[in-house]
């Protein structure tokens, strides 16, 4: 090391020191080696630093000249050092990145895979279509007064649906409490409780004394809608159902109404959904059959109609001024054709694989 020797400020000496430094930097291949070279050739005790210190001892004119030459030399050394640092740094980073490569296909899990039940997800999704239209979601009890479940809906005391073969009753029978057979009593409650006009949907659990098989469960879910306003017509019902169909199944998917009979609506209709898979193309086309609509082009979806004025009257609504419409569809049934659920029993048996199968979404 040339450190403690008296400084030789000749250009030749300076050039040699610079050459030494550049050679040492170039020879360094790691940051550690470079650090060593830096201390030796650009550190406080390096020949250049010592030479710098020696400048002060020179007489004026020589001092200026030596200072300029030393300055140039130090700039050259520092530039070379910076360049080498950058080079080694980049190489080492590349090395580190290569060394730290990991298997990104390893499974990671913050929490177990949870999911809402597909029925819940679909019910929320359908409700949201109506909330976006300005409607509200109405709810009510599941054990319900017979008057609200039947009489107020123009389902008279002799209607077969009121028998114990169709409806589950709370004991004793003479207490007139049933497990609601549809969410329609919530419509009645809405008409009794809410100010007019009324725009509500009623999603929820309903009960029937039904058999339990692949297409029937005694406890299932419905969503019903009710509008009571001035000037409401069947055309408004059609428009609403079409909007629901488009919202859930895409543009171009509309509904069809077929006349039917329900005590609580008049006129009444069954509502069919245009097949959202084949869009009717499978009808009469055996080469391209459609599983979703069984090549019918339409899928039975629910029931609907103009609210029977007898129902409005039972809720104290002026039938000369107001009219309304109502509709209802099964959530389970919708899930079956919308998301290919094959067996209704799966929906109530609580198998986690069923709940997880939509990955939490009712897409």
């Amino acid at each position: 090391m040339p450190g403690d020797q008296p400084a030789d400020l000749s250009q030749t000496a300076i050039d040699a020191v610079v050459a030494d430094a550049l050679a040492a930097f170039a020879a360094a291949s790691t940051s550690a080696e470079l650090k060593e070279a830096r201390l030796a050739h650009a550190g406080e005790r390096s020949p250049l630093a010592l030479a710098n210190r020696a400048i002060g001892t020179l007489p004026g004119p020589e001092r200026k000249d030596a200072g300029q030459r030393l300055g140039a030399a130090r700039a050259a050394v520092n530039a070379a050092l910076a360049e080498r640092e950058a080079g080694i740094g980049a190489a080492e980073l590349t090395q580190r990145l290569a060394a730290e490569r990991m298997d990104v296909t390893l499974p990671v899990e913050l929490a177990p895979e949870g999911a809402p039940h597909p029925i819940t997800a679909l019910m929320d999704l359908m409700g949201d279509v109506f909330v976006a239209m300005g409607w509200e979601i109405a709810e009510g009890p599941e054990a319900e007064g017979e008057w609200l479940n039947f009489d107020a809906l123009n389902i008279g005391p002799d209607h077969p649906a009121r028998g114990t073969t169709d409806t589950l009753f709370v004991a004793p029978l003479e207490n007139h409490i049933v497990l609601r057979t549809h969410t329609s009593p919530v419509q009645i409650r809405s008409m009794l409780d809410r100010p007019l006009p009324i725009y509500v949907v009623c999603p929820g659990k309903v009960y029937r004394a039904d058999e339990f098989d692949a297409t029937h469960v005694p406890v299932f879910h419905q969503i019903e809608g009710l509008v009571v306003d001035k000037g409401i017509s069947l055309a408004h019902l059609k428009g609403t159902l079409d909007h629901l169909a488009r919202s859930m199944f895409g543009d171009g998917i509309e509904t069809r109404m077929r006349p039917h009979y329900f005590p609580f609506t008049e006129p009444s209709a069954e509502v069919d959904l245009k097949c959202f898979v084949c869009r009717g193309e499978s009808v009469g086309n055996p080469d391209a059959p459609c599983r979703t609509c069984k090549s019918q082009g339409w899928i039975e979806w629910g029931g609907c109609g103009v609210v029977n004025p007898r129902v409005l009257a039972a809720c104290g609504i002026d039938t000369d001024t107001y009219s309304g419409f109502a509709f209802g569809m099964g959530i389970e049934r919708t899930l079956m054709f919308r998301n290919n659920a094959a067996d209704m029993r799966d929906m109530v048996e609580g198998d986690v694989r069923f709940s997880r199968s939509l990955k939490g979404m009712a897409r």
Binding site: V131, F212, H260, G350, D351
Partner: protein, 838 residues
Amino acid sequence: MRAPLSWLAEHVDLPDGLTGRALGEVLIRAGLEVERVEELGSDVTGPVVVGRVLAYADEPQKNGKTIRWVQVDVGPEHNEPHPDYPQGCRSVVCGAHNFAVGDLVVVSLPGAVLAGGFAIAARKTYGHTSDGMICAEDELGIGHDHTGIIVLPPVDDHGRALEPGDDPAGVLHLRDDVLEIDVSPDIGYCLSIRGLAREAGQNLGVRFTDVVARTTPTTRVDGYPVRLDDDACPLFVALGVSGIDPSRPTPRWMARRLVMAGMRSISLAVDITNYVMLETGQPLHAYDASLLKGEIVVRKARAGESLVTLDDVTRALDPDDLLITDDTGPIGLAGVMGGQSTELRETTTEVVIEAASFDPTTISRTLRRHNLPSEASKRFHRGVDPAAAYSAAHLAARLLVELAGGTLSAAETVAGAVPAMPSQAIDADLPSRILGLPVSRERVVEILRASGCDVEIDGDRLSMVPPTWRPDLRDPYDYVEEVGRKIGFDKLPSIVPPAPVGRGLTADQRARRAIGSRVAAGGFVEVLTFPFASVEDLDRMGVPDDDRRRALVRLANPLAETAPFLRTSILPGLFAAVGRNTSRGNDDLALYEAGRVFFAGSGAATPIPSVAGRPSADELAAIEAALPVQPRHLAAVLCGQWRRAGWQGEAVEAGWAQSFAFADQAAAALGATLERRPADQAPWHPGRCAALVLGGEVVGHAGELHPAVVRAFGLPARTAAVELDLDALVRLAPGTGSILPVSGHPVAKEDVALVVADGVGAGDVRQALVEGAGDLLESISLFDVFTGGQVPPGHRSLAFALRFRAPDRTLTDAETAAARDAAVSLAAERCGAVLRDF
């Protein structure tokens, strides 16, 4: 209702070539539920011809059967040369014996395919080569009879002689389209060929000919004596036919139609009554006149009366049952089923035909009371055209005369009269307003008249009297529907009604959705279970007798006797779901369910107010008061592993910690923090159960299940569970909340380790520290629980990290120390905590 196209075509001028499918489409648009159209006979293809039996030989077989080796002339086109017969023939093996030489039979030749895809080929059997098959009804798909082969009449329905080689399809009525229609309760008139033909005519715009052509005469009882003692029977027609030949068979065309319509051929007289019922919609009953005793009286049942019905069942009668009686007592349940004592026998030669009108509600009650759905009751409880009774009785009588050789008595009985139909008036624009489609007054009138209504026009008002077959036309909107049906709902415009501005989901609805999203995202899987319960479940959970969960609501007609109550807890349902999952190999479970539970209410009855107007406030309050209390609960159950062992680390067992975490997440979704207190509550482990407290109220419990409960329900060891009153949680959760100021001054950290006795809860110590530290405390967390070492036995060391910060300044060491000391000293005072040196 199953309606053969050929039968409909006799009543309405259907366009040439109209298929059953095409007619079905028309009727669907008109609101009839055409479930399917069967193309009968379309599956029988290839050579099926009329054959004449030329000769046969009976050949006994080793298997005990005797087969016939038959030579049959099948016409010049199909005959093969035969040495004995110049015209040729085919030889076939036949198992039946119900034919003779010279009979005409139906022969399917090789190449034919019969009903069900049964292909015919020449085949070796019983030592012969059988060159075809002589057909029975079932093989052609026209009936179920396989007792013998079909023997054809010598002439067809038009009197033309049948010849070998002819197509037998016509005489067999082999090909027809049958429309199967699910008739909704309001259009009972469509349970007849007459009604469907009328609908077809109106919707196709073609001529309909009404088979009900006779006007009902005024009351005359000069035939069989009949007395009507009850308003539920306004009309009773009785005709007598004598001298019928009971040996006459039902003609093939009639039997075929009955089968196509879904009925069975029984005997000629019974078949005639059924045939006329299908055609007119008017149920008929035929009595053996020799078995009737005295006057027929229609009346309600008397106490203690009973009747043996046609199906051989003795039925105890209800005073509300409407009966047909004679001097011997009840002889029939009116409109539902006849009695055995007067039913037609194989020897019957004299009959009395009944065609009556009955009140639908009365019939409907009787049919449900006795659970006796029949072709008659199906029609009567929907309403039968009373004006059809007289014509229908005469149609049946004429057939008995023509087909059974009987003689119609000139004396006839018409008791009562056709009731008048109720009139109704509407604004002429009501259909336009309710349908949302302009319909002119003229079009409304035209449609209603075409439907059979009498319509009077009075300016903008229309007055209607419906036809006798339309009891469903009653209210103004019934007429709107009739107009709408006839125009077609497919013509309606599609208009979204503009709703007023809505308020979105309610706060409660948002809260419940937030909880569901949070716990699902947190690893819990929602399941839906049946909300039914049993006492045994509560016993197995160890629920004490005085627990509210014992206030069960019983069902009068439960789906299963093993679960006759409504649930008061969601947990048993989840336990069952755990069992189903583990039995299928899903061992690591974190299940949850949100739903209502039911606690017994007052036990009072809910009133049934009038539907004429809004019930009174008292009536509505009485309904509410009588209903069970039905709060929503939220429950979860955990077992197996919360996290499986993997490359990241060891397995984490699911247990009480996750049950608490579930409750904490549910609360956190609402910005609430639950306090946990030790609790002893079934079905939990008494040392591992927390009461979950919010706003001073216990809103639920969580923890590890009691080992006895785990055993009783067959659950995996250390299964944990949580159940919350969801409504209470939502109700008690804080409201809007406010944003905390964010201080930019530095934080001061202090760790303290406190030694406390084992019975002291970490939560209590934490609470004391929080309160003692005062406002400068920004956060606190428990980072270590330590026993052993210098910690005395029966004690634990709890280490907390405290972070202090002031909103407006940098805290001095002295300030921080003072706050820490205040915290520790309150913990010492409240919990006996002793500061431990590290």
